[in-house]
Every structure is written in structure tokens, then in C-alpha cells.
Symmetry: C2
Amino acid sequence: MNDSEEYQQRKQFYDQLLTIYGRKPVLEALQQPGIQIHRLHLADSNKSAAILDDIVAIAQRHNAEICYHSKQALSRISRNGKQDQGVAVDLVLGGYRAYEDFLKTAPNQYELLALDGITNPQNLGMILRTVAASGIAGVLLPKKGCAQIDPLVIKASAGALFRCPILRCDDLAAALQNFQAAGAKVCGLSSHARQSLGEFQALAPTIFVLGNETHGVSSAVQALADHNLRIPMANGVESLNVAITASLLAFRHQLTGA
Amino acid sequence: MNDSEEYQQRKQFYDQLLTIYGRKPVLEALQQPGIQIHRLHLADSNKSAAILDDIVAIAQRHNAEICYHSKQALSRISRNGKQDQGVAVDLVLGGYRAYEDFLKTAPNQYELLALDGITNPQNLGMILRTVAASGIAGVLLPKKGCAQIDPLVIKASAGALFRCPILRCDDLAAALQNFQAAGAKVCGLSSHARQSLGEFQALAPTIFVLGNETHGVSSAVQALADHNLRIPMANGVESLNVAITASLLAFRHQLTGA
């Protein structure tokens, strides 16, 4: 293996890591099923505490490496020295990577969900669980405007987060434009759209965008959408929970057998 | 209209009423969108309080009848004098009725969901919202073993509860046997089942039973199920959130166009 290949493999591995910090958040994350721990990081200035013993015990059960650092070095790992409380953990998320990596080797046809302002951690966790179970290509999760992966999200995902193909991006609209440049179509979901999901046929790679729980798809994304789709609703109901909408999109091929 | 018809109409109306009691629960329920208030009941012994003023103001905005009672009479309405705090409200649930009523006039073909030990109010609310939006015939909600409709459930349903066809029963297994006697088939959902949902064809009225969030379908219901079905899952995910499963069942005909 040459240096460049080794570098790529290491980059790929480190890209899958998610760092969580703070005593309670770390303990709660480690208590979830399906967790994969790379390294536990502790400040060597920590005084002994029951919660730290619990955290170390779980890390040991998982045979995770435990590293001690100066307070300053730890704050470079947590990137939040004010709130890390002397503890951080690197979790391995099997399907976590930059969307650019996905695009480089994307198949001819695929479907993704994209999250545009999903701020409720329960909803995010349920969506990640559903996407993992559905087998679709993944979910595009921007750093801006969405809830980020934290212990609440891990809990709501029932551990499925560790198996979910999550494509990271910074800004959703910019990422969607790159997907469009590569031939993908962007579909915004909206209860006001004229076209129903059942009428839509995906003839190209397709990204379904789910908008904020209250305000829907953002205007920046709306402006670049190729289609707007609605899920028909009975009894005058105005909208579905966003995680429910996500599940109908992600599982529609299994249900239709298409 | 003869006496018997009048009695039937009145019975039908009163069957749709759901009584909620306690100051905070009543206020929270009344603050939800889509709420329909029949009567607000107050104890004439209540001392003035800001929360009561808020409750009365909402009832007035809805042109609801406001009735004053002795403490004792109010406790007969709330059926819980110890916790009603001098307040109860009758809400009108448009689709709320006894399952026996549904069976009397049931169409030749229909699909229902049945809830077997759904204890999380968030899940119950999401299921009721989804069922209302899907247009399927209804959801069978037993008094025993499930979360009951309370302000948390109303909130999680985003008000759709007031439009959801909810069929009340006491004991689920007994009700399912009555449905079976009337020609319906009972399908338990389980991630361990051999048959997948996509392989199942509903040739008779069908009731899909959703089990407890942790323990699944109860043994009493399992014993009488005609089919056991699973939803195929990718990436080694073991289960879906029960409200997600409910949505896939309720919406599968819209998605398939069948």
C-alpha cells in the first residue's frame, strides 16, 4: 500500500468519527445500544467522580482505547473546552461521510432524503432510524440549520444511527446544487404542492427535501427545486409529522415492490 | 323523528365526547389547534385563578357552553373528583365511537389498525394523526393497556385527533374475536415474522395489530392472529418506531396506487 492509499484509508476512517463531549452527554451516548466507541478522552486533571467511573467502565467493556490528555489538549479534541467537563468520546458511525465522497462514486440511479431545518432531535433520530432500515442510499444532513447528532438523537434512533448512511454537508442549498450539476433532481415536499408523490416518477437520481417542522422547505432550497410534491391527505389533515413523511418516501419502493 | 331515532342520534353524539379534567390538562388541551369544545364544566366552589380565566376565555372564543356545578356534581362528570381541580371539559371527537357501531354498518372491505399496548403518548398521537391523514377506516384503541387520549396525545396528534376515526373497545383480544366472527382477518406485525408485508394480499377486511414499543404484540393477540407480517429492514436494523410502522401500513395503498 502506498502513502496515498494509506492516507485515503485513514481519512475515510476519521471521517466516520463523531465526537461527543460533556459528562452526561457522553454517558448517555455510551448507554445506547449499538454504540461503537473509537476512543475515550479524559483530562488528566479530572477529580474522581462516580459518573467518570461509569463512563470508563463502559469504554472498558467495549475494549475502547482510553487516552489521558492535558486540559488544553482535550479542549482541542472536544473543540469546546468550556463545556467538555474533561470528557470526550469518538464514536464510529459506519455510514457517516462527506457528501462529496458519495458523489465521486455515486451509482447511476439513487434516492436520498435531505433535511432542511429539522430542529427536533426526536424527529432527526426517528428519520435516521427509518433511513437506515429502508435501505435507501442515505440522508443529506447539513451542519447549518438542523439538529446535530447528540445523545437525544442517538436515543431516538434506537442505535440505528450507527448503521445509517449519513452524508454530511455544510450548507444544504450549496450541496444540492452540486448534486444537480451531477445530474440529480431535487424534489421539495410540501402539503401545498400540486403534484402528488404517486404521480412522480424518478427518472434520474432524486433527492427528496424535508423542510422544517413549522415553516417547511426554506426559500433558498425552494428556489432551486426541480419538483414540488405532496403526499395526499384525507379528513382535512394539513400535514404529517416529518419523520412519517420521511418513512413514506424511504419505504415507498419496498411497499410498491418497484 | 320518533323517540328511538332521537335517542340514537343523541347516543351517537354523546359517544363522540371525550372528557378531560384538571386545570393544566384542560388548558393545554384547549390550546391545541382544531379543538372542538362541547361544554366546559366548573365547580362553583372554585376560587378565582389566572389559569381558570384563561380556560374560560378560550371556551368563550369557541362559543362553548359553560356550566357551573357543585363539587360533587362535577366529580360525577370528571369521574375523578380527587384530581379534577374543579375543571372538566367535554371535547367533541368527530370520529370517536364504539367499535360495535362500526361493525354494524361495516363495508365489505376495509382496513384498520389496532393498538396493542402502545404506552407512549407521543407515539399514540402520531399514530392518530397519521391514521386521520391516510384515510383508512380507523384505529381500534382499547381502554386496557394503551395510553389514553390526554393533552400530550392531543398535542402529538397536532389536532388531527379530532378528525381521526377512533374505534373504542375495552379489551383488544375480545374485540378482535368479534371482528373475526364478522369475517375480518387479524395480522400481527412483528420483526420476527416470516411473511413480509409486500407478500400479503388483503382478501378480506383486515386488522393490522401494532404491539408494544418494547415487547411487541401481546400473547393473547398473538394466539388469535391469522397472519404474522414483517416489514423488511436493511442494514441490520431490528425494528421501526411503531408510529412509522403505522404510517407504512396506513399509507401503503396511496403509495402503491392500489
